[in-house]
C-alpha cells in the first residue's frame, strides 16, 4: 500500500465522521442562513430542520424517470465532487481524525477537483435534453471562466508567499496569532480570492446560471426525487467544503469544530450578505466585473508577493 501511507481502516471511519458532521452542519447552517434572510425580511422563515424534511420527501417520492445513463450519473458526479473535495482537504488542523485523505494531493488537487462535480452535473443536465439546462450550463461555464481567475491568481500569490502547495503547511504557517492569517499577511491575495469566492457561490448577483424564474432553474430543471436529493446533499456539502478551502488558505484554518463552524458560517455569510443586496448580473456583466476588479487585484497580488 505504497499509495496510501500509514493507511488504517479507521481512517475511513474518521472520514465518514467528518462527512457526517459537515453534511449536518451544512444542512442546519443553510437553513439558518435562510431563516436569517427571512427574519431580515420580516418573515418567520423556515424551520431549521426543513432541509432534512425536503431531503426525506425527495427520497420518498415514488415515481422517477430517467433520461439516460449520463442523466443518471450526473448527480453521482455532483455528490462525488463534493464528498471528494471534502476528503482531499484537511478539515481540522492538528486533528488526526479529520485530515481525511489529504495526502492524496495538495491544493492543486482541490482546486481542480472542484470541477469534477460541475462537469458531471453539466453532462447529466445535458442529457436531459432540456434547452434550459443547456442554457444554464452555457451561462455557468461562461461565468466561471473569469470567476476562477482571481482565485487562481490569489492562490498563486499565496503559494509563492508560503513556498508550498500543501494545505496543511499553509494552515500551519498561519497559526499562532490572528495576524498570521493570510488575510492580514497578504490582503491582496485574499481579496482577489474572495472575489472568486463570492462569484462561485451561485448566489446573487452571480446566480445567472440557475437564474430562478428566468430559465426555471437552469441545469437541474429535469432533476427530481433521489437525484435531487443527492444534489441537495451536495448543495449543503459543497459550499462548506469550498469554504473550508478558503478558510484554510486565508483565515488560519480551524483547530476545532467550533472554530470551524464559526469561520465557515462567517465566510458563508459574506456571499449571502452581498447576495441579498445585489440584483443579478448578466453573464457579460459579471465577466466584466471580474475583469475589472478581480483581475487587477489578482495581478497586483502576484506582483507584490
Amino acid at each position: 500500500m505504497t499509495a496510501f501511507p500509514n493507511f488504517e481502516w479507521v481512517q475511513i471511519a474518521y472520514a465518514l465522521l467528518t462527512l457526517f458532521i459537515v453534511i449536518n452542519y451544512g444542512m442546519v447552517m443553510t437553513a439558518v442562513v435562510r431563516k436569517i434572510g427571512a427574519r431580515v425580511g420580516g418573515r418567520y422563515g423556515i424551520p431549521v430542520w426543513q432541509n432534512y424534511v425536503d431531503l426525506l420527501k425527495n427520497i420518498a417520492l415514488r415515481s422517477k424517470i430517467s433520461h439516460g445513463v449520463m442523466y443518471y450519473l450526473g448527480p453521482v458526479f455532483r455528490l462525488t465532487g463534493g464528498v471528494g473535495l471534502l476528503m482531499f482537504v484537511p478539515t481540522i488542523y492538528g486533528s488526526e481524525w479529520h485530515q481525511n485523505f489529504s495526502y492524496a494531493g495538495d491544493l492543486i488537487l482541490a482546486l481542480y477537483f472542484v470541477f469534477f462535480g460541475t462537469l458531471g452535473m453539466a453532462l447529466g443536465a445535458g442529457e436531459s435534453g432540456h434547452p434550459h439546462s443547456a442554457i444554464g450550463v452555457s451561462r455557468g461555464l461562461a461565468q466561471v471562466t473569469m470567476a476562477e481567475l482571481p482565485l487562481a491568481l490569489g492562490v498563486f500569490a499565496l503559494s509563492l508567499q508560503y513556498q508550498t502547495l500543501d494545505i496543511t503547511e499553509i494552515v500551519a504557517a498561519q497559526q499562532g496569532s490572528i495576524f498570521n492569517w493570510t488575510v492580514f499577511t497578504n490582503p491582496l491575495a485574499t481579496v482577489a480570492a474572495m472575489v472568486a469566492f463570492v462569484g462561485t457561490m451561485m448566489r446573487s448577483p452571480f446566480d445567472v446560471a440557475m437564474a430562478p424564474q428566468e430559465i426555471p432553474i437552469g441545469p437541474p430543471t429535469e432533476y427530481h426525487s433521489s437525484y435531487l436529493a443527492l444534489m441537495q446533499t451536495n448543495r449543503v456539502l459543497f459550499p462548506v467544503a469550498k469554504t473550508v478551502i478558503y478558510m484554510n488558505l486565508f483565515f488560519g484554518g480551524a483547530t476545532s469544530w467550533a472554530e470551524f463552524a464559526i469561520k465557515v458560517f462567517c465566510l458563508y455569510m459574506i456571499s449571502v450578505v452581498i447576495g441579498v443586496v445585489h440584483p443579478r448580473f448578466r453573464v457579460e456583466q459579471s465577466i466584466r466585473f471580474f475583469l475589472k476588479w478581480g483581475l487587477p487585484i489578482g495581478v497586483l497580488s502576484i506582483l507584490v508577493v
Binding site: A3, H67, A104, F113, A134, L149, L165
Partner: protein, 1041 residues
C-alpha cells in the same frame, strides 16, 4: 571516345538527309530524326559516363586545322557533356512526344528540330564568341520555325514578337562581339578571359555581349515575348524551349561571365534576383497553365543567373549548385510541359484531369517538388549550399529576398497542384501511352538525379535513408489493397521503432514512441478503409519517415531534410481531405516559410561550416546567436501553430480525413515541439536587445493557450474546435518549455504525451461521428450518446483528461504546471494561462454536449456506432489514459531523470507511486482510490433509491407545460456560448488572419498590377528590352563607380 563534333554533325547531316527524302515519306523522316537525336544523345551520354568514370579527359576540339584565335574551337568537359545530354535527351523525348505534329508538318519541321538541337549543343560546346552568335541566330530561326508547330493560331504572333526581340538582341550582340574583338584581338572566349576588363567605358562591348546573353535568358521584366511563346507553342516544343534552350543559354551566359571576369558577376546576381522575384510574383496571378510555367521557367533561369553571379564566392561548389538547379529545372519543366500537352483545358483547374491517372499525379508532384527544391531532388541540395553561401558571405538581404521569392514560387506551384488534385475534371485527359511514358521517364530521371546529387553531396544522401526508401516503396505498392498496405505500414513503424529505440535518450524516446508507436496505433483506424486508397500511404509514410529521421538527425542538414520531408508528406495527406484545398495551401506555405526560417537559421549558425552539428548550436555566441534562435524558433513555432502563425492549422486539421486529422494533430505538431526542445536545450537563454527570448516564448505560449481556447469555444465545426484546442494545448507545451526549468520541461513532455493521446482520441471519435452523420457541424447532431456510446466514452474520457480534472492524466499536467511556475520569476504570463484553463471547459463541454447530449435529430435517429476500426484505437487510448493517470511514473520518471541530468537538479521525488515536489504532493493512486470508492458508493445509493426509474424519451421534458416543437428547435447548440461571445467576443477579431490576408492581397495586387506591363504588343516588348538594357547599364555604371 567519339568526337563531340559528331553531335553537331549528326544533327546537321540528318537534317540534310531529311532534305533528300521525298516530301511524302514522313515515317522514314521521323525515324531518321529519332536516329539522329538518339545518336547525339548517345554521344553526349557516353562522354558523361566517360568523364565520370575517368576514362576520358575533357577535350578541346579544333576546327579547320588551326588553333584559336585563327579557327573556332570547341570544348567538351563534364559540364558540357552533362548539359548536352540534357539538351539532346530532351530533344529526343520531345521528338517522340511531338510525333503526331512532326508527321503532320513533315520533314521540314523535323529538320528544324534537328537544327535546333544541334545549335543548342553547339552553343554549349563552342568557345568562340562569334560562333556563339551564329548558334544563337540558328536557335532563333529554328525556334521561330518550331513555334509554328502549334495548332494555336496565336503562336504565329508570338513567334513574330520573338523574332522582333531577337533582332534587337542580335544587333546588341553583334556590336558587342565586334568591339570585344576589337579590344581583345580575339574572338576566343578563353583568350578574352585571359585579359578580363574591368567595368569601364571601354568595356561597353563586354557589357553589350553580356546583356545580350542575359536577354536571351528572358530576364524580368523584359520577357513578355518569351511568355507568349510558352503560352501558345506546342507543349513538346515549350519543353524544349524551357528545358533545352534555357539550359544552353544559361551555359553560354555562364561562359561569358566567366570570361568577363568577377567584376561583372554582380550584374548576373542583380538581374538574376530581380528576375527570380519578379517572375514568381507575377506568376501568382496566372490562371493559364502554360503561361504560369513560362513565368516559372523565367524565374528558375533567373535563379541560376543569380547563382552564376555568386560564382566567385561559391568556388568549387558552383557546378554543384548551378547544375542542381539547372537540371532540376530542365527535367521538371520539360516534364510539366509534356504533361500540359495531355491536359485538354488551359486553366489550372483543368489539370484535375490528371487524377484519372495516379502515375501522372506522382509525376506532377515530383516535378513540383523538384522546382520548389524539396528533398530529395537536386535543387534541394543546391539551395542548401546556396543559402549557406549567402549566409557565410554576409549577403543577408539577398538571403532574405531569395527565400521569400522561393516561398512565393512554392505558393504558385502548390496552389496549382491543389487545384489539380481537388477540382473536378471538366474534360478528360488526352491520353497517349507514349506521352505518358515520356513523362514518366522524366519523373524517373528526376528521382535518379536526386540520388546522384545526394551521392555528390557532402551532407549525406537523403535518398539512401531507409525510412524514406520504405516510404517510397509505397508508390509502386499502391496497387495493393489498402488493408495490406496498412499492415505493412504499421509493421514498418513498429520495426523502425524496435531497431532504433536503443540509441535514443529518454526525451527522444518519448517522441519516438509518440511518433512511431503512436503512428502505428493510429494506423489501426485506417483499416476502416476498403479498396485501394491510392495516394494515402506514400505521403503518410513520407511524413513518418521525416519524423523518424528528425529524431535521429545530428547535423543541421539531416534535420532540415527530415523537416522538409515530414512537411511535404503531411501536405499531401492534408490535401486529401474533401474541402482541404485552400487549407492545404496555407499549410504548405506556412510550413515552407517556417522551413525557410530554419534554413536561414542553420545557415547563419553554420557560417560556412560544411557540416554543422546540431549540438554546436550551444557554442554559438555573439550577436549572431540570438538571431539564429529567433529564426529557428520561428520555424518551429510555425509547426506548433503559435498564435499569429496559426491560421493554417484549423482548416488543415479540420478538413483532413478522419484518420489523418489525428496524425497531423496528435503527431505532427510534436515535431515542432521536438524542434523547440532541441533549440532551447542547445541554445538556452538568448538575449536580443536586452529581452530574454525565452520570455517572449513564454508569453507567446501563454497567449496561444488562451486565445486558442477562446477561439475553440466559438467554433461550430467539431473538428475546427479540436484544431483550435490543439493550438491552445501546444501553447501550454511551448509555455512549459520556455520556462526553462526542470518542471517546465517535464510539463511540456507531459503535454506532448497527453495531447497526443487525447487529441488523437477526440479526433478519431469526432471523425467517427462524422463518418456516420456526414457533417462536422455540431448543432446538426445531438443526442448521439445512445447511438454511439463508445464514441461518447472516449470523448468523455478525453475531455476529462484534457480539462485537467482529477483523476485523469490531464491533472498531472496541471500539477506539474503549478510546481513549474513556482520556481520561475515570470509571473504575468500566468494570468493568461490561468484564464486558458477554465475556457478549456467551455469548448470541451460544448463538444460533448452538442454532439452526444441534448436532442437527437430525426435524420440521425438510426445512425450506428462508429466503425470498429475507428473505435478500436480510441479504446486503446482510453485504456492508456487511465493507466497513465494512475501510474504516470511509467513514462515520466525516466524523462524526469533525464531532464534532471540536463539541469543538474531533481525537484521531483518519486517514492513508490507518489510524486513529491518541493511544494506539494501528487498521489495518483490515492486520488483514484478515493474517487472510485466515493463514486461507487454514491452510485450504489442512487441505484438503490432510483432503480425503478422510468426511461423516458427525448420530448418528455418539462417545457413550461408545453411540448417542444421539433428536435432542431429544442437542441440548444448553435452559438452555444452566446453570453460568452457577448463578453469576450472581441478576442475573436481575426487579427492574424487579416494580417496574412493583407500580405497575400498585397502580393496578388502587385502581381495583378505589374503584369499589365505585358501588353502583348511586340513593339512594346522591344521597348522593354531596350529600356531594360539602358537601366541595367546605368545601374551597373552607378554601382561600379
Amino acid at each position: 571516345m567519339v568526337s563531340p563534333l559528331l553531335i553537331l554533325a549528326a544533327g546537321l547531316g540528318a537534317a540534310f538527309i531529311l532534305g533528300l527524302l521525298r516530301g511524302t515519306s514522313e515515317r522514314p523522316a521521323f525515324y531518321v530524326t529519332i536516329a539522329a537525336l538518339a545518336a547525339m544523345s548517345f554521344v553526349a551520354l557516353s562522354w558523361v559516363v566517360g568523364l565520370v568514370l575517368g576514362q576520358t579527359q575533357p577535350v578541346e576540339i579544333l576546327t579547320a586545322g588551326a588553333r584559336p584565335p585563327f579557327a573556332i574551337n570547341l570544348f567538351m568537359g563534364g559540364a558540357e557533356a552533362a548539359l548536352i545530354s540534357v539538351v539532346t535527351l530532351t530533344g529526343l523525348l520531345s521528338a517522340f512526344y511531338m510525333r503526331a505534329d512532326l508527321m503532320r508538318l513533315g520533314r521540314r519541321a523535323m529538320a528544324v528540330l534537328l537544327v535546333l538541337i544541334m545549335a543548342l549543343s553547339g552553343l554549349i560546346l563552342t568557345r568562340d564568341l562569334f560562333n556563339l552568335f551564329v548558334f544563337i541566330e540558328l536557335i532563333v530561326i529554328a525556334t521561330a520555325g518550331l513555334v509554328l508547330l502549334s495548332k494555336d493560331t496565336r503562336a504565329l504572333a508570338a513567334g513574330f514578337k520573338y523574332l522582333i526581340v531577337s533582332q534587337v538582341i542580335s544587333i546588341l550582340l553583334l556590336v558587342g562581339v565586334i568591339f570585344t574583338y576589337h579590344a581583345h584581338g580575339s574572338l576566343n572566349i578563353d583568350d578574352i578571359a585571359a585579359t578580363p576588363m574591368a567595368f569601364t567605358g571601354a568595356s561597353l562591348a563586354t557589357f553589350l555581349v553580356l546583356i545580350a546573353l542575359v536577354l536571351e535568358l528572358k530576364p524580368f521584366p523584359a520577357n513578355g515575348w518569351a511568355l507568349d511563346i510558352y503560352e501558345s507553342a506546342h507543349p513538346g516544343f515549350s519543353a524544349l524551349f524551357s528545358a533545352a534552350s534555357g539550359t544552353a543559354a544559361l551555359f553560354a551566359a555562364d561562359k561569358l561571365f566567366t570570361a568577363a571576369g568577377p567584376a561583372w558577376l554582380p550584374l548576373a546576381t542583380g538581374v538574376g534576383i530581380v528576375t527570380f522575384v519578379g517572375a514568381n510574383l507575377l506568376a501568382l496571378s496566372q490562371s493559364h497553365d502554360r503561361r504560369l510555367l513560362g513565368y516559372s521557367s523565367v524565374g528558375q533561369i533567373g535563379l541560376v543567373l543569380l547563382v552564376v553571379g555568386q560564382k566567385a564566392l561559391l568556388g568549387a561548389d558552383f557546378a554543384y549548385v548551378a547544375g542542381g538547379i539547372v537540371i532540376s529545372h530542365a527535367v521538371a519543366k520539360a516534364g510539366l510541359f509534356w504533361l500540359s500537352g495531355m491536359v485538354k483545358g488551359r486553366t489550372l483547374s483543368d489539370w484535375a484531369a490528371l487524377c484519372q491517372n495516379p502515375a501522372l499525379v506522382v509525376a506532377f508532384a515530383t516535378f513540383i517538388a523538384m522546382l520548389t527544391g524539396l528533398p530529395p531532388f537536386p535543387a534541394f541540395y543546391a539551395k542548401w549550399v546556396l543559402v549557406h553561401e549567402f549566409a557565410a558571405t554576409g549577403q543577408l538581404p539577398m538571403l532574405a529576398i531569395f527565400l521569400i521569392a522561393a516561398l512565393i514560387e512554392a505558393g504558385v506551384l502548390f496552389r496549382w497542384f491543389g487545384k489539380a488534385i481537388k477540382h473536378d475534371a471538366q474534360r478528360s485527359l488526352t491520353y497517349h501511352l507514349s506521352r505518358e511514358t515520356i513523362v514518366l521517364i522524366a519523373m524517373l530521371a528526376g528521382w535518379g538525379l536526386g540520388w546522384v546529387w545526394g551521392a555528390l553531396s557532402d551532407q549525406g544522401n537523403v535518398m539512401t535513408a531507409l525510412p524514406l526508401l520504405f516510404a517510397l516503396l509505397f508508390l509502386p505498392m499502391d496497387i495493393l489493397p489498402a488493408r495490406v498496405k496498412n499492415a505493412i505500414a504499421m509493421a514498418g513503424l513498429v520495426v523502425w521503432f524496435v531497431i532504433s529505440y536503443q540509441d535514443l535518450d529518454p526525451l527522444r524516446l518519448v517522441f519516438m514512441i509518440i511518433m512511431m508507436l503512436g503512428g502505428a496505433v493510429l494506423f489501426l483506424a485506417s483499416f476502416h478503409h476498403q479498396g485501394r486508397r491510392m495516394g494515402f500511404y506514400a505521403p503518410a509514410m513520407i511524413m513518418y519517415a521525416g519524423m523518424a529521421l528528425l529524431l535521429e538527425a545530428f547535423t543541421a542538414f539531416q534535420f532540415f531534410a527530415a523537416w522538409e520531408m515530414l512537411t511535404i508528406g503531411s501536405y499531401f495527406l492534408i490535401l486529401r481531405g474533401k474541402e482541404s484545398e485552400p487549407h492545404a495551401l496555407s499549410y504548405i506555405l506556412f510550413s515552407l516559410g517556417g522551413a525557410f526560417a530554419l534554413l536561414a537559421g542553420f545557415a547563419l549558425a553554420a557560417q560556412g561550416q560544411r557540416i554543422f552539428w546540431i549540438e554546436d548550436l550551444s557554442e554559438l555566441t555573439g550577436t549572431l546567436a540570438p538571431w539564429v534562435f529567433v529564426l529557428l524558433a520561428l520555424g518551429f513555432l510555425t509547426k506548433t501553430a503559435a498564435m499569429g502563425l496559426h491560421i493554417w492549422l484549423p482548416g488543415a486539421h479540420a478538413e483532413a480525413e478522419t484518420d489523418v486529422s489525428p496524425m497531423v494533430s496528435g503527431i505532427l505538431l510534436k515535431a515542432g515541439l521536438f524542434g523547440l526542445f532541441v533549440l532551447v536545450m542547445e541554445m538556452g537563454h538568448q538575449r536580443l536587445y536586452g529581452v530574454d527570448l525565452t520570455h517572449l516564448l513564454v508569453w507567446l505560449g501563454a497567449l496561444s493557450a488562451f486565445i486558442g481556447a477562446v477561439l475553440a469555444a466559438f467554433q461550430e465545426d467539431a473538428k475546427r474546435l479540436l484544431a483550435y484546442s490543439s493550438i491552445s494545448q501546444m501553447g501550454y507545451a511551448v509555455f512549459g518549455l520556455a520556462l526553462m526549468n526542470h518542471l517546465g520541461w517535464l510539463l511540456a513532455m507531459m503535454f506532448a504525451i497527453n495531447h497526443f493521446v487525447y487529441k488523437s482520441m477526440l479526433f478519431l471519435a469526432v471523425g467517427g461521428v462524422k463518418e456516420r452523420t456526414h457533417t462536422r457541424l455540431m448543432y446538426q447532431m445531438g443526442g448521439l450518446i445512445t447511438l454511439m456510446p463508445l464514441s461518447f466514452v472516449s470523448v468523455l474520457v478525453g475531455i476529462i483528461a484534457m480539462s485537467g480534472v482529477p483523476p485523469l492524466s490531464g491533472f498531472g499536467g496541471r500539477w506539474i504546471f503549478y510546481n513549474a511556475i513556482m520556481s520561475t520569476d515570470l509571473r504575468l504570463p500566468m494570468v493568461l494561462v490561468f484564464m486558458a484553463g477554465p475556457v478549456g471547459f467551455l469548448y470541451l463541454f460544448r463538444l460533448i454536449h452538442t454532439i452526444f447530449l441534448g436532442q437527437p435529430k430525426d435524420n440521425l435517429r438510426q445512425v450506428k456506432e462508429a466503425p470498429f476500426w475507428i473505435i478500436l484505437p480510441q479504446m486503446l487510448f482510453v485504456a492508456f489514459l487511465i493507466a497513465f493517470a494512475a501510474l504516470p511514473g511509467m513514462i515520466l520518471q525516466r524523462v524526469d531523470r533525464y531532464i534532471g541530468t540536463l539541469f543538474g537538479d531533481q525537484p521531483l521525488v518519486w517514492s513508490g507511486r507518489i510524486v513529491n515536489s518541493a511544494y506539494g504532493t501528487w498521489n495518483p493512486v490515492a486520488i483514484w482510490g478515493v474517487i472510485i470508492v466515493v463514486f461507487v458508493t454514491v452510485l450504489g445509493l442512487l441505484i438503490w433509491m432510483n432503480h425503478n426509474a422510468q426511461r423516458v424519451k427525448q420530448f418528455n421534458i418539462v417545457f413550461s407545460a408545453e411540448r417542444p416543437f421539433k428536435p432542431q428547435t429544442t437542441h440548444f447548440a448553435w452559438n452555444f456560448f452566446a453570453p460568452y461571445r457577448k463578453a469576450m467576443g472581441f478576442l475573436e477579431t481575426p487579427v492574424s488572419t487579416s494580417f496574412w490576408t493583407g500580405v497575400t492581397n498585397a502580393l496578388h495586387g502587385t502581381a495583378e498590377f505589374s503584369r499589365k506591363l505585358y501588353t502583348g504588343n511586340g513593339q512594346t516588348y522591344a521597348v522593354h528590352l531596350l529600356l531594360f538594357v539602358i537601366a541595367v547599364y546605368l545601374i551597373s555604371m552607378g554601382a561600379s563607380s
